[in-house]
Symmetry: D3
Subunit: 244 residues, 6 copies
């Protein structure tokens, strides 16, 4: 099985070698994971605007992956930019961390909260939950007020901030499950779980990109693709200015 991960930003060092090991581990030993980023778009995604500028090339990368023989594509951003448009242009599974992790979290407990980077994206993530149909399981979306590109600066501080906001989600919003709301937080679910445990909270913490990779693998193994009734191929027509 070959899985392509599309990182929808132009920042080259966003995905670390350690990340790639985690992605590979998620798919398993015999399978191939490859990561590509985009060349046109934003440095990070923290707004509807950023998403909009990332999406055209994400779609291109998804089509390219199918042409190169990949079995599935995973979009490396919690906002799932290009998820629906990308599914239209191919006939292989395309998964997104937002959708995959919210549905996974919905199976893990009564209500879940998403803890994300900035207040900017809160309405966007509530909209995602509405479209994905999991609104009644969503306790809240909260932010730690750290921009995406600063997430890596101090991982201990980051974990502490995530624990802090997760405790508020549990105490004030009734969350029983925590979803990390940015794929730049990959690798931190264990630290947040432990941080919560130190404060007496036993809550599963979902890493969204890993959830999306696992979902992609499951779909490939079950020979499932997204419904072409929901995601039909776009009608052929003139497109100006894009090589897609």
């Amino acid at each position: 099985m070959k899985i392509r991960i599309v990182t929808p930003i132009v920042t080259q060092d966003f995905v670390t070698p350690e990340n790639i090991r985690e992605y590979s581990d998620a798919v398993g030993p015999k399978h191939e994971v490859s990561v590509v980023s985009i060349e046109r778009g934003p440095a990070s995604i923290e707004s509807e605007y950023d998403e909009a500028l990332a999406t055209p090339e994400v779609i291109g990368r998804i089509r390219e992956a199918e042409q190169e023989g990949f079995d599935a594509v995973v979009i490396n951003c919690f906002g799932d930019p290009g998820l629906k448009a990308g599914r239209e242009v191919v006939n292989i599974p395309v998964t997104g961390p937002g959708e995959a992790s919210m549905h996974l979290a919905a199976t893990l407990g009564h209500r879940f909260s998403v803890v994300t980077v900035l207040d900017n994206v809160l309405p966007m993530l509530y909209d995602e939950a509405a479209v994905y149909g999991v609104e009644s399981k969503l306790a809240s979306v909260r932010s730690i007020d750290v921009p995406v590109l600063d997430l890596h600066l101090d991982l201990d501080d980051l974990a502490a901030a995530l624990v802090n906001e997760s405790v508020k989600a549990i105490e004030d919003d009734g969350a029983h499950v925590i979803v990390l709301g940015c794929t730049g937080m990959t690798g931190l679910s264990q630290a947040v779980t432990e941080g919560l445990a130190e404060q007496g909270y036993e809550a599963p913490v979902v890493d969204p990109l890993i959830a999306a990779i696992k979902l992609a693998r499951t779909l490939v193994e079950m020979d499932l693709r997204h419904s072409k009734k929901t995601y039909p191929y776009p009608p052929k027509k003139e497109i100006v200015g894009y090589n897609v």
Copy 2:
């Protein structure tokens, strides 16, 4: 008052001189309406894919409108491409036909149906309704199976197809109000209303672009802009490949 209408496709003759008269009438005599289209993007919008490729330049057009002193922007497509991203980059009202007409229709009767172009866009329009919060007022979304760029070929046939599908919406889905689900249907609300009346149905028929223009005018007059808590300015960052 100066209102800019952004037609998010590269098809130049999509907006007819007659359309422009209708738009001007909608804003009123002392005001200015100007229409621009985009240079990079699809010929028409009939998929998530088309929307995604239209959006970057729509955002640019919205920002440009504010810089040129326009008081509001209206997006000329029922799918509202760039509506949320566009609101982030400016501090003037930005309205969309999908959102404006659905909320207007919700005030006109018990339930409304949207009658649109192709089956392709049905899930997209149900998602719009979910995000706009009007799901409980939406009876159904139906299509007449005519592509956007063929809408103008025979206006009598088009009106007949819209009436036909509207009758099904009324009889089978419980619609009390009809929303035309494509701005390429502008100018047809009266013909559909009359066609329905001939078959014994008295239902208001909403022209979505006119609804969006009226909403833009109302917001300007009331000195209202979209909430910056929902649509904050995007964080400054490197953007590659876009002049926006």
Copy 3:
């Protein structure tokens, strides 16, 4: 265009000359606005009981307006007394500030809160939101604990109280948009907007009566009337004790 505003209370000086100027401004220069009140009913509306006693004569005023050649009627109370019954008896648009402002607010941001007069009317306004289908966009309804007829006593105090409660709506309930929940607050949206800005909050503040007037104008201009499938003429029958 001639728009009739029906103030559903017997208090004669509730609508000030300054208010009438605002209403006229809202419709625009070439149009006519006239305001009538009722002769039988309550001094103000602050309960289901007050609404019930106001409604019969409101309906009469609505029918009278159509007979006198008015193009639309606006009910001057956030509780929208007589809105649905009034629509049944005429074939011109009838709009209400509660419905018009809630749907307008729903287009302005993620969630809105209504800030109204007394705790008494909270359940009534939550019920309105349920019937209008905007429940998922409503963050909360809050009150400033000032009776309708005391609203005019000190406009600075009133604005301060509205700002104060709006801040709670924003901070505690997640509101991104504020709706003034009584038409006795007409004229204060700017002061509340500024008061919020002084405390660092940038939120649109919707004046509900102006929203209803704008909606009425839009419906007249678009030649739309409320669905007769939702609001059929009442069956003819004996009515005792009412000259309606």
Copy 4:
């Protein structure tokens, strides 16, 4: 226990002696039931308009009942006119057939349908369900197209029409329980149950007025009254033209 039933119409022979026996049976042997109608209002209730004209005197009758020492009031109309306003003016339970029967039906099976008199009242009854919070249990509202005052003309025809429409509710809308949607249908639940059984359908059929009487008795016996936080006494104020 003394229960007052308020028939909110001016038609004097709407309640038959046989009906009164049924009401008495519903409360039980040692208790008193008395029925009053109104002197100002409509001959029957088949619209929001009719409801609005009935409500003021219904409120008066409710207050009068408390003053005369009644323990509870039941409103004799499925539209529940004056239910909420009436609860505000007294401190005894006030029940309505719409609310009581919908909640009762919700406990009897997966989904229920209401079968009522005329299409006119369909939106009104859907609104009731929304306000009462039972929308997810409501399969549909259907009508037999018979005006209230013609219901008594031929009881066999009436039962047949109710059976006919109930079968459609079961087959087409997924109803498992039927609610008779007009108190003019009191006494027919058994005939409809049997008519359904003859066609092979085993579905409970709820008589709404009896449900409301039973609920009133239960509240009196349990010493429960409606929450004064939801239904506070209306603020004292000038009321013109009503002796309430």
Copy 5:
């Protein structure tokens, strides 16, 4: 009328003679109430696990009650163990305190809260509300952190704890009505009502078992049984290890 109350636990002294008097009072003088418990199952119900172990014998007790000529069965636990399965095996009404009291509370005010024994059962009771279709009327579920079998230890302390948590439900969650969330609290609704009144809160307090008994009586009197379309007899088949 003969009503059988099934206490789904093996604890013999859970139902006191005083309780039985209350149950009898609830049904009325001429009727018979008898209480049985189970011989296999848990000592009390405070988890899904306890419910699961109680249910098989509850079903047996329900079938037995029908065979012994009882007219209805009431399950004596707020979690309603065996409610749906029990309805399948008989053709007499079976009611549960959770369902009965939540629907009753929904008619008493804007929103209700349930105050129950332990945090353990909170998700279970939220699930009940979802299945019963009253989620939009439910303000919250709260617990007093007292196990079921300790409820009787100090009734004054218990009432004080219930008042304390009810005040939080009113102040913080917007409850207008309180439901006692365990049938081990039977007999305390008056004390909680008075305790709330002492602190200035006027809210109805619903005793759930009494609500379920009243509902059972109403169903018997109205000759209603639960829909066999929702609760068909289970298909005949081999059952090993149960004498049911």
Copy 6:
């Protein structure tokens, strides 16, 4: 990884050797799958009653699996008997085909339908969807009217019946995705997919047990367990008649 599959019925030949191969394939080569059934309970599950009688021993089997060192448990029935109770008693993941497949299906398209065995279980499956929070994604639940233990009699007939009912779900209910609603249909998803394709429908068909196995594997690999805030250990207490 060791995964235990608990078949909650006493029928020994329900799981075929071919089934076991499919389960093993689903987990992957290096892992162990073992299947156990129960000794006390029903021959098949087609009612709430059957579920209730299966559940106690299912819980025992779940606890046993943890004691025997299994990493996760999968319940082999679409009704998910014992899912929530079982999670309470262990600290390893427990998944169910109903929950797992509905959330998976929700990610595959706009709406999904479940096609199950008998009408009896329809309300039960709608309740499942409500509790799992996926109601807005569920188009319908339909049945083929074949008992569980007859499913294996003629696999071609079975596939044809599933295709037939799936077409109705797509055409009449708006389904874009099909979920097989019984784990006795394991192995048929490909045949149903092909049968649909022959009739011109391209819809993913989800095998629920495989979905549950994949979810279990994912949870083990991600080191996730169900929230102990939702599923706390049951309080210790006397249990009579069960060796659990």
